[in-house]
Symmetry: C2
Subunit: 251 residues, 2 copies
């Protein structure tokens, strides 16, 4: 058995998300189809985490096992030849047998792009969320300070039946103001279902004046999804990078 | 009568080009539909030039006449509200009655993007042309020197029945080499039908070794479309900017 790690990009617009679903177009499903065709037997792909329907990725990481050793470049070439044009594999590397792209991920960075300009964005329209009300970035930055650190993010979890721990650590939230666009970068050790989108919806409600930065402490304490802001649309979100610890040595 | 100049962006992927055609989706057609609905009578839009089917624009310029004076911002807002999401109007300005967006254009800049990287381009895939053979940029730059200046570009004209002058002046061709991408910027006083795409196809054939930079002089002299290179695909081409002389004073 040989274990391969790959780095992926995708435009999530057409997809029902990462996770394989019967009779639905998904990223994991597409990857498994092409890899299984290549190998001649069913290959399972494990992602660093699921991305929601419509969410994009520039650095999603996944791994899969093959029964025999394959040349890394051959796999890379085969995948890019047979995958649709909205999914690309940037890198394939043979890794230690024990490498698991979900369990061993130590940090992830997401980017949420809010288009605030008055002129519609033609070329990036699939990758931004249009928000035309004025947003006070300083209020959003102040709110972000309350969110950073280790907290129970139950109020920011889209899955109400979540039974496992909802404690996560956000190490950094960086908010960049560009002409006509606000970019929010989230880095943390893991994110719950819809969490980045609910964090963004909450920051938007603070930025447009509906809530105050100080409300964040109360929302966190409430441990109740109803108290946080709305779920910002999937189209504005991109998974940028997944970081692994040193123990992931290459073969 | 009031004359308005507008600056436009569009993703040309879905369109049969700029020029209105019966029962076809065109940029000019869409603009005329929306403006006519706004005005309540048929409005004609004049572009700085036609773009081919599939060609994009970041700074196409056009003008139109209205029977009465309208607020510029109102027109801008109306257009962006009713145009499809792959066309945007960036600016609307009332201009001198005599302004004509085609006759008075003194210079245009086009960008042709060639994706040369091995990893498919996911997010910019609609705006680049994939070319996987190695290209020698220095050969292409040398060839570009022969193309600059005032020449009869008949060999680079896609319309074989062209009766008007095929003499044009290219003031500058800049070739930028980025990781996985070659960008060619063309600036000139005007371009013939398909000219930028034929220039690009010829530069590619020089870059990949099929022709030499010195072949350009002979191609120009031949005044024969058959002698130049192939017509590079429309998707890689974007009209970046149209420059007007000083006489275009605002109202």
């Amino acid at each position: 058995m040989a274990n391969y790690k790959m780095i992926l990009q995708y435009d999530g617009t057409r997809y029902r998300g990462w996770q394989v679903l019967p009779a639905e177009l998904t990223i994991q499903g597409k990857l498994q189809d092409v890899l299984s065709k290549m190998a001649g037997y069913q290959v399972e792909v494990t992602g660093s985490g699921r991305t929601d329907a419509g969410v994009h990725a520039k650095g999603q990481t996944a791994n899969f096992h093959l029964r025999e050793e394959w040349d890394e470049d051959k796999i890379l070439f085969y995948l890019n030849q047979y995958l649709p044009e909205d999914i690309a594999v940037c890198e394939v590397k043979r890794v230690d047998e024990r490498f698991h792209s979900r369990y061993q991920a130590v940090e992830k960075t997401y980017l949420y792009r809010i288009h605030t300009g008055k002129i519609p964005e033609v070329f990036e329209r699939r990758y931004v969320y249009d928000y035309t009300e004025p947003l006070d970035v300083n209020r959003m930055r102040k709110a972000a300070e309350y969110l950073c650190g280790t907290h129970d993010f139950k109020s920011f979890c889209g899955n109400k039946k979540m039974k496992k721990s909802t404690v996560r650590t956000i190490s950094r939230i960086q908010i960049k103001e560009l002409p006509g666009e606000i970019q929010i970068y989230y880095t943390g050790n893991g994110f719950l279902q819809n969490m980045v989108r609910i964090l963004t919806g909450t920051l938007i409600e603070i930025g447009d004046g509906r809530r105050t930065p100080e409300d964040v402490s109360e929302i966190l304490e409430a441990k109740n999804r109803e108290r946080a802001g709305y779920t910002a649309p999937a189209c504005g979100l991109t998974l940028l990078e997944v970081i692994y610890g040193k123990m992931v040595c290459n073969k």
